[in-house]
């Protein structure tokens, strides 16, 4: 049979930096053959603010307010890594209570980040409503953050040796409320989204990344875990006190967008579980309890011991980053967030290299979208979960 072959001229279409579905200011130069994507070239740098260079002439205290602008949706992690790097270099110990508070904050932040990812991801495929539901829950997390840190997104809460302030009065109870409230809500999202045939059809088998491929591209976080690699830095690096909690690494084997969706949804559930445990195990219990015990037991009691402090020693404004260099990483919601820190016994770090997970994960995008339909670009990009603030830094 003779087929009439129609060859249309390829169309180069520019998605972003201003485009309704672009996450931040990413620009994709897409070459289209009809509806099929022939090539895709991401252009970065529209949000470059020189975060690494700024770090080189700021003390850690001065630099801390900046870092929440890297990944402004998982703000606690950026602070954690900025604090962890000099902390480890200077061998500053962290009280147990502070470590627990950090874990609670980090997991809350992870939930917030995954929630927003869920909203934008589903909105990228066309369903707008979950976005609003997700914001309802995220709002509560931010209310909790505001009560504890004073700001909803730009917390400036972590300090070298602990956190800036103890949890406020009644916070533990409300945080528990939130965790108990969240799980049914996630069930509801799953009822709305997970089995929806259109959603399944759009996502299943899309943007599949194999196990080797994922490792070779240096992917991390849910991107890696969805491809069948059980790699979670919380388990591997044993940082903070994650080992004291009972939790599982969430992973999947199929490596497609649907697997990444499930990994993230399950991580949210797991985080809620971890927060509940951490709240129970929090040394000294809630702030009101700790205060009452301190007053009751007198100044020399064990309640004033090092484990029950929220910070080991308040860092001086002239905290010196010791000479030496090392790489520190945490498991951020988007993947491995690392800092390569070189100190030279000065108040300023000599080098502050940031390894953002979004930047590394984004590299695989052109390869994934090649040969797909135009609409799939958005779905795949959504499943990668990038924040331009940290990609461009």
């Amino acid at each position: 049979m003779v087929m009439i072959e129609t060859k249309a001229e390829r169309m180069v279409i520019n998605l972003g930096p201003h485009h309704p579905s672009m996450h931040g200011v990413l620009r994709l130069i897409v070459t289209l053959d009809g509806e099929n994507v022939v090539d895709c070239e991401p252009v970065l740098g529209y949000l470059h603010r020189g975060m690494e260079k700024i770090a080189e002439n700021r003390t850690i205290i001065q630099y801390l307010p900046y870092v929440t602008r890297w990944d402004y949706l998982a703000t606690m992690f950026t602070e954690a890594i900025t604090v962890n790097a000099p902390e480890r270099l200077a061998n500053v110990s962290v009280p147990r209570r502070a470590s627990y508070i950090r874990m609670i904050m980090l997991e809350l932040s992870r939930i917030a980040s995954h929630l927003l990812w869920l909203g934008t991801f589903v909105a990228d495929i066309g369903a707008q409503t979950p976005f609003f539901y997700v914001f309802r829950e995220r709002e509560i997390i931010y209310d909790l953050f505001e009560a504890a840190t004073g700001m909803r997104m730009m917390h400036n809460y972590f300090r070298i040796g602990g956190v800036a302030a103890d949890l406020p009065y009644g916070w533990v109870d409300k945080c528990e409320d939130f965790c108990n409230y969240l799980t049914p809500k996630i069930d509801e999202y799953e009822r709305l989204i997970s089995n929806n045939p259109i959603f399944r059809k759009r996502i299943e088998g899309l943007g599949t990344i194999g196990q080797d491929e994922a490792i070779n591209w240096g992917l991390s976080g849910p991107m890696l875990r969805a491809s069948g690699v059980k790699w979670d830095l919380r388990k591997i690096d044993h940082y903070e006190l994650y080992d004291e909690l009972d939790w599982e690494v969430q992973w999947d084997t199929s490596g497609d967008c649907l697997a990444r969706y499930f990994v993230r949804v399950r991580e949210m559930r797991e985080s809620a579980k971890m927060i509940l445990q951490a709240l129970k195990a929090l040394p000294g219990g809630s702030y009101e309890n700790l205060e009452a015990q301190r007053v009751l037991a007198g100044p020399k009691s064990e309640w004033n011991g090092p484990d029950y402090q929220f910070i080991s020693k308040k860092p001086s404004p002239t905290f010196k980053v010791p000479a030496g260099e090392h790489y520190v990483r945490v498991e951020a919601p988007k993947g491995e967030l690392g800092v390569y820190l070189i100190g030279e016994d000065s108040v300023f770090p000599w080098r502050f290299k940031i390894r953002p997970p979004g930047f590394v994960n984004l590299q695989i995008l052109p390869q994934l979208v090649r040969g797909m339909k135009l609409a799939d670009i958005m779905a795949i990009l959504g499943s990668v979960d990038i924040i331009m603030g940290e990609v461009d830094r």
Partner: protein, 372 residues
Amino acid sequence: MYTGIDLQQALIDVLMGFGLTQGVAKVLWMPLPMLLVFLVASVLALVCTWLERKVSAAAQQRIGPEYMGPFGVLVPLADVGKLIIKQDIIPAKADPILFTLGPVIVFISVFLCYLVIPFGQNLLISDVGTGIFLVIAISSIAPIGLLMSGYSSNNKYALLGGLRAAAQSISYEIPLALAALAIVLMSNGLSTVSIVNQQADYGILSWNVWRQPIGFVIFLISALAECERLPFDLPEAEEELVAGYQTEYTGVKFMLFYGSSYANLLLAGLLVAVLYLGGWELPFPIDRISDWFGISKNTPWWQIITASLGITMTLLKAYLFIFTAILLRWTVPRVRIDQLLDLGWKFLLPIGLVNLLLTAAFKIALPNYFGG
């Protein structure tokens, strides 16, 4: 056959009472229903936009428009006012003639379809013999307008949107027509009035939904696709194409697109009501009531009651469809272009054909129930 209220005859009688000839009276009458239907359709389409805002707000635990009039009902008017006074921009490298013509064609083709939509036995502009066929034929013109505007905008998003609109409309027109054809087969006529009358005998039980469940589903899906609403709003898929063919439009021309998209939704709702939900008929035969009370069908006040009940019922049924469409829009994600065409050609079309075949077979086998 009982004809119900006949405004035309009544008015002509009145005018002839003034000493005019019948011809002149008819000419005087003619523009009135057109204007009326145009205005009513516009208002009802505006109500759709308000409903969209309110329903989406409620589904997302928001309040939606609140301060513009009671429950924000004046928001659509504010929209219209804003769009009318907005500057009309034609992009520098666009084709100005096609760019203007596109929305006009879409608008006219949608509103022309209201010609045959009946709100009562005689409450329609014209009971054309080709009725439902006319609607399908005219609504096929709309994609030409969309393609025109997509092409003339000189914008790649608009072009892709226009192409998608054309592809989508063409592929869903066929299942739509097939589903309607099965109804036509049963009612032995293309006229919308005869289709409704054929469903009138036993109230809700004689509505076509029960006799045409497959056709009903096909019609619903294709109607949604024809209206370019989620899950089938690919031509204006915001996440991919910004706003598709309407990307470059502002002001009045955008209003024409916006208005006709909602008028089209309303039209789909009315068609669903007429074809499957018994049009202006109540869930129980209204004639029975008049018989029980011993009221003559020709009593003027009774005629007015039945006519207004008929209009209410038609609108109620149409808005039921619209509500479902809106709720669906805020529930489901969007399908991909190849899945959309797959669904149209590989699922709806064969099923539509099978449905037509079954209807024909049933019509021969059970002529009492399938309008032999």
